[in-house]
Structure formats: structure tokens, C-alpha cells
Amino acid sequence: MRKLPFFLVLTSLLCFAGWLRVATPYSPSQDLPLISITAFEIHAPNVVAGQALAQAARSWTGVTAATYNANSGLLVLSHTLDQSASSLKSRIDILNPHPASIKVFPEPAGAKCPVPASALAVLPGILLGCSAVSLLIAIMLFISNAKRWIMAPLQP
């Protein structure tokens, strides 16, 4: 039982060292709203119509960039996460004579990272939390034990 605060302090230090390793320094890009990129096959009747659609999409709320590539026939929108791909598709369908479809790119061949990017994104927070909680519990245990050691000689 007496070794528990020691192990907790050790855990706290290890978590803190891990956090120092994976935490990234502040950059103004961290304050930017998150975006997603969606590609639509729009089957535009001609290049001008496709480019006009991209131009119109640039003024839509939540759309941060838009482009139409005549060679691929793709209208690609970069948009904030509050704009879903389906809601953008319905807006495209109003302006385009042919119904658009969301382009699904084929899975690339080769090895994949076994850890999802979403898990890696929260790792610094988990490590910092682990460090703080371990240290807090260690301090509380230490104070509790110290009280017992101080009070022990006074007891009859």
C-alpha cells in the first residue's frame, strides 16, 4: 500500500513524458474550423456550366473552396463539418440539370496505419489527463498517509 503513491508518481511522470513527446506546439492553424472535402460527379452539360456551379458553390455558407475539373467531371467542395455531403448534393441538384452523385474513391492498395487517425488526435489529451489524475491521487494518498504518521505517536 505504501508503494502505491510511488507507482502513481511514476505513472504520472511517464504519462507526462509521453505527452511532451506527442504534444504539438501551438499554431494558428489549430484555431481554424474543421473541414471535410467531398467530390461530386455532376455530369455538367459543358465546362462553362460546371465552372458556373463551382462559382456559385463558393458563396454557399460553410463552403471554403470549390473547383470544377472538366477532365474528371468532378465538382469538389471543401466545406465545414456542419455542412453534410447530402445537403450540399441537394443544393447542387437544384442548379444542375443532372442529379449529382458523391464520388467514392477506391481504397488505395498497401499497408494501412493500424491506429485510426481519430485515436491519434486525442492521444495528447489522454496522456495529459493520465499524468494529472495519477499525480492528484498520489498527492491525496500521500497526505492521507502523512496524517496517519503524524497522528500515530499522539494516540494512546
Partner: protein
């Protein structure tokens, strides 16, 4: 009397300040704005990067390379922020690039020169979309150009 003295000292200080202002030796030249400031700061760089990524995803010559990134919003975000940080830091802005080195990031990908050129063309199209002046465009491409050897044929 006290108020008179305060007023007199204020006037003399003001006159001294004015005479100092006339001394041309004391005028420090305003530093020329760096590329980050000339590009328009973080918001302008973000707009260009978003347009660049949209151009890349629409480009059949290279979009297969970015398929996995586009499918995962976290990876999209990581790539976007790394690009913003790289341009921001490279142009003298208050950012720090935290991603892998270009050599590490492209190791084993066997990117061809044609793919690299397609990527550069997409970047130039994004810069043109926002009417970035030729000088700033060339300065930015000069920063990114030397990375080619670490990206192509790795």
C-alpha cells in the same frame, strides 16, 4: 504656481519631442513586410490551401494518392493544417511545421515527376484563383521548389 510649472514642463517636453522627431538620424526604417504578411496572413493562406486541396481531389492525375486522406476527416485535417503550417512557417509567419520531413512523408510512395508537376499546377491554379501577385507566387514556389528532390522518386 505649481500648475504653471507642470504646464511649462509639459510644453518643453513636447517641443523636445518635436525637435527629436525632426532629426532624420533617429528615424528607424520600417521593415519590409515578409512573404507571410504579403500573402495576407493565416486566413489568406488557409483559403489558398483549401482551394489547392479541392483542385488536387478533382485532378484525376493525382487524386488516387489522396483517396485515403479524403475519406478520413481527421487525416484531411492533418494534411490541411500541415500544409498551412508549412507555408506559414516557410514564409516567415508565426507557425511551426510539426509534420514529418518531406523525405519521411514520401518515402516508398514512388511519386513520379509528372505527378509532382500536376501537384504544382494545382497549387498555381489555387494561387491564381485568389489573384496572388506574380512576385509573391514566385517567392512561395521558390520556398517549396527545393522540396522536389525529397518528394519525387523516393
Amino acid at each position: 504656481m505649481k500648475n504653471y510649472l507642470v504646464l511649462l514642463s509639459f510644453l518643453s517636453l513636447t517641443l523636445a519631442g518635436m525637435s527629436c522627431g525632426e532629426n532624420k538620424d533617429d528615424i528607424t526604417p520600417t521593415p519590409a513586410p515578409n512573404l507571410y504578411e504579403r500573402l495576407g496572413g493565416i486566413n489568406a493562406i488557409t483559403a489558398v490551401v483549401d482551394q489547392f486541396l479541392a483542385n488536387v481531389v478533382a485532378d484525376n492525375a493525382i487524386n488516387a494518392r489522396f483517396a485515403a486522406t479524403v475519406a478520413d476527416p481527421f487525416r484531411t485535417q492533418l494534411l490541411r493544417n500541415n500544409l498551412i503550417d508549412q507555408i506559414c512557417a516557410g514564409s516567415g509567419g508565426p507557425c511551426q511545421y510539426k509534420g514529418k520531413t518531406m523525405l519521411e512523408a514520401h518515402q516508398g510512395m514512388q511519386i513520379t515527376e509528372a505527378e509532382f508537376n500536376a501537384l504544382v499546377a494545382d497549387l498555381i491554379a489555387a494561387l491564381d484563383q485568389f489573384n496572388v501577385p506574380t512576385q509573391e507566387k514566385n517567392d512561395l514556389l521558390a520556398i517549396l521548389g527545393p522540396m522536389k528532390t525529397d518528394i519525387v522518386d523516393q
